[in-house]
């Protein structure tokens, strides 16, 4: 008796969490993500060096006990700069994706809920923004705004909403015909109330997935922009910019370009696999 009651009381999210917990690879990646967040937060305590302080006598020191990843062209500790670069990558990924999801949710929900002419206009907007290669657009926007962390949030946030909007629109068009939404409409619930109180909670799983999948894409875009000199301004450490600075020295100091690249791969890989795991756990259709 008590056992069957327990099963009935399992909520959607509890079941999802249980599925996710069984996925060992995804849990391992969740661990990596948490570790990266801790590194970003506690960077100053993890290393005795200043990431931006030049030390000309120590230029291009190979990996050693004092400098596990060696030093760069200004004698700065590469490991330290990777720790600090983690701050840029994670914050750009997270902030820009929160912004993008906010935009994507409202554009998608308005298009899906109101339909008709509103939908035509918004769908056309989605179409326009997605016919533009993302990186090209980001380059154009960063070209105008100039380098800087804030501008990266804005550029990647303002451009990354299309896939979220498209998914939410589809989701809402399906939900709109469900009985409980129809009941709300008949009961005289206002559009805004239905959007915020009834549609939003049902779209949360989709939003969790698009945010987790969007973060690695934003991190890669930030790296590409920084590589082109359109990201954060020097001397701030960013993984993409470090690879760009290492490029002239690949003949003699190949290790310099290796480490920031590994940092990007580990970070992006962890988010990608975690995203796959979350999708498998949250999408009822994928549950077996």
């Amino acid at each position: 008796m008590s056992k069957s009651k327990k099963i009935n009381s399992q909520s959607y999210y509890r079941v999802s969490l249980a599925i996710l917990k069984k996925n060992r690879l995804a849990m391992f990646c969740l661990g990596i993500v948490i570790a990266l967040v801790l590194i970003a937060v506690f960077a100053p305590w993890l290393t005795p060096y200043d990431p931006n302080l030049n030390d000309v006598r120590n230029r291009f020191k190979g990996p050693s006990w004092e400098h596990p990843f060696g030093t760069d062209e200004y004698g700065r500790d590469i490991l330290t700069r990777i720790f600090y670069g983690c701050r840029i990558s994670l914050s750009v990924g997270i902030v820009s994706q929160l912004l993008a999801s906010l935009l994507g949710y409202f554009i998608g929900v308005f298009a899906g809920y109101y339909g008709g002419r509103v939908d035509s206009v918004l769908s056309f907007l989605i179409q326009v923004f997605s016919s533009f290669p993302f990186l090209l657009f980001a380059i154009a926007v960063m070209f105008i705004l100039g380098p800087g962390l804030m501008n990266l949030y804005i550029a990647l946030g303002l451009l990354g909403w299309t896939s979220t909007a498209r998914l939410i629109r589809g989701e809402v068009m399906r939900l709109k015909n469900s009985e409980y939404i129809q009941a709300c409409i008949v009961g005289g619930g206002s559009g805004w109330r239905i959007i915020m109180k009834h549609l939003l909670p049902n779209c949360v799983p989709t939003l969790i997935i698009t945010i987790t999948m969007g973060i690695p894409r934003a991190i890669l875009s930030e790296a590409s922009l920084s590589f082109l000199g359109l990201g954060v301004s020097p001397p701030t450490a960013s993984w993409g910019a470090m690879i760009s600075h290492a490029q002239p020295y690949i003949r003699k100091f190949a290790y310099y370009s290796l480490f920031p690249g590994f940092a990007i791969i580990i970070c992006v890989l962890a988010f990608n696999i975690l995203g796959d795991g979350l999708r498998d756990a949250l999408d009822p259709k994928l549950r077996s």
Binding site: F124, S130, F227, S244, I265
Partner: protein
């Protein structure tokens, strides 16, 4: 079908118009006066004003747009501020390099992607599948400019198999094509595998097996053909991304394609060249997406009859 074609072409034209508006107005609020940059700090205000008038930069913005759009329709993208040659000419010359690089890497991405995807699906949950999928996730996670540098270090500098900069003959394209194609090979492999697995649950697959067809015939004729629909979408979108992705790869390998032209133009704030380049790439992408949608409708009758498009 005709109805679908007409609607889709009109939509593409609208998108191009919107993109041209966005490009023009966005790039018109760029800080830094291009005339001042072009003439240098020593120019007198009179000279600056004169050159501005000559280039039509003193007219209202909307008039400038109409002029620019009108010229663009005639294939005239204006002249580069610094290279003093028509933008269209510069774009066409460099496009040769970009199209070669893009087609090599696209060919690579599609072949490897489809092969790996089919293999992984056939050996579902076996070690082949697991190894290939780990490689694929790694492939979509690695930044292409970093892969490019690693390829330069390993195959260019250490093994000395391929040249690492310039674009004189085919051997110069090998490393850039791999660097650019890896990511898309990986994404095509993932979608092919998932789509094949989806299809393999269908009843007609069991029927084909029950009929005693040979394995490869089942895989190729029954599974693969039906699994192609999502693959076409991804492969089409990737072609557009390869064109932009080539910007970074061309910079790393010093290939004077559109990407490098654009990166240099951005550094010099060469407005007509940036505008022309963005429009050119965007135009090509819109055309590619249009072709993908039409292909999509040809492959899947539900779309041309139901009136949906790729985005729905």
């Amino acid at each position: 079908m005709v109805n679908f074609l007409v609607r889709r072409v009109l939509q593409a034209l609208g998108v191009i118009l919107a993109i041209s508006l966005i490009t023009f107005f966005i790039l018109n609020i760029v800080p830094g006066d291009p005339v001042q940059i072009m003439l240098g700090d020593l120019a007198t205000p009179e000279t600056v004003a004169q050159v501005r008038a000559q280039m039509g930069l003193d007219k209202p913005v909307w008039l400038q747009y109409l002029n620019w759009a009108g010229n663009m329709l005639r294939g005239d993208f204006g002249s580069s501020y610094f290279q003093h040659r028509p933008v269209m000419e510069l774009l066409l010359v460099s496009f040769g390099y970009t199209i070669r690089l893009a087609s090599f890497s696209y060919l690579l991405a599609v072949t490897i992607g489809l092969a790996f995807g089919i293999l992984a699906a056939v050996f579902h949950n076996k070690w082949v599948d697991k190894v290939l999928m780990v490689l694929a996730v790694g492939g979509i996670s690695a930044p292409n400019f970093w892969v490019a540098i690693i390829l330069q270090i390993v195959f260019g500098l250490t093994l000395k198999w391929f040249p690492i900069s310039g674009a004189k003959d085919f051997s110069y394209y090998v490393l850039p094509a791999i660097a650019l194609g890896t990511r898309y090979a990986a994404s095509i492999a993932r979608i092919t595998r998932n789509s094949m697995l989806e299809v393999s649950k269908q009843d007609y697959m069991r029927t084909a097996e029950a009929k005693g067809l040979r394995d490869w015939l089942i895989v190729m004729r029954h599974a693969f053909r039906n699994a192609l629909i999502p693959v076409i979408t991804v492969a089409g979108t990737d072609l557009g991304n390869i064109l932009t992705g080539s910007m970074l790869i061309e910079s790393v390998f010093q290939i004077s394609g559109i990407g490098k032209l654009m990166v240099d133009a951005i550094g010099q704030r060469d407005l007509p060249l940036v505008q022309g380049g963005v429009m050119y790439i965007a135009f090509i992408c819109v055309v590619i997406y249009l072709i993908v949608d039409i292909l999509y409708a040809v492959v899947d009758p539900r779309i041309r009859l139901g009136g949906g498009t790729r985005s729905e």
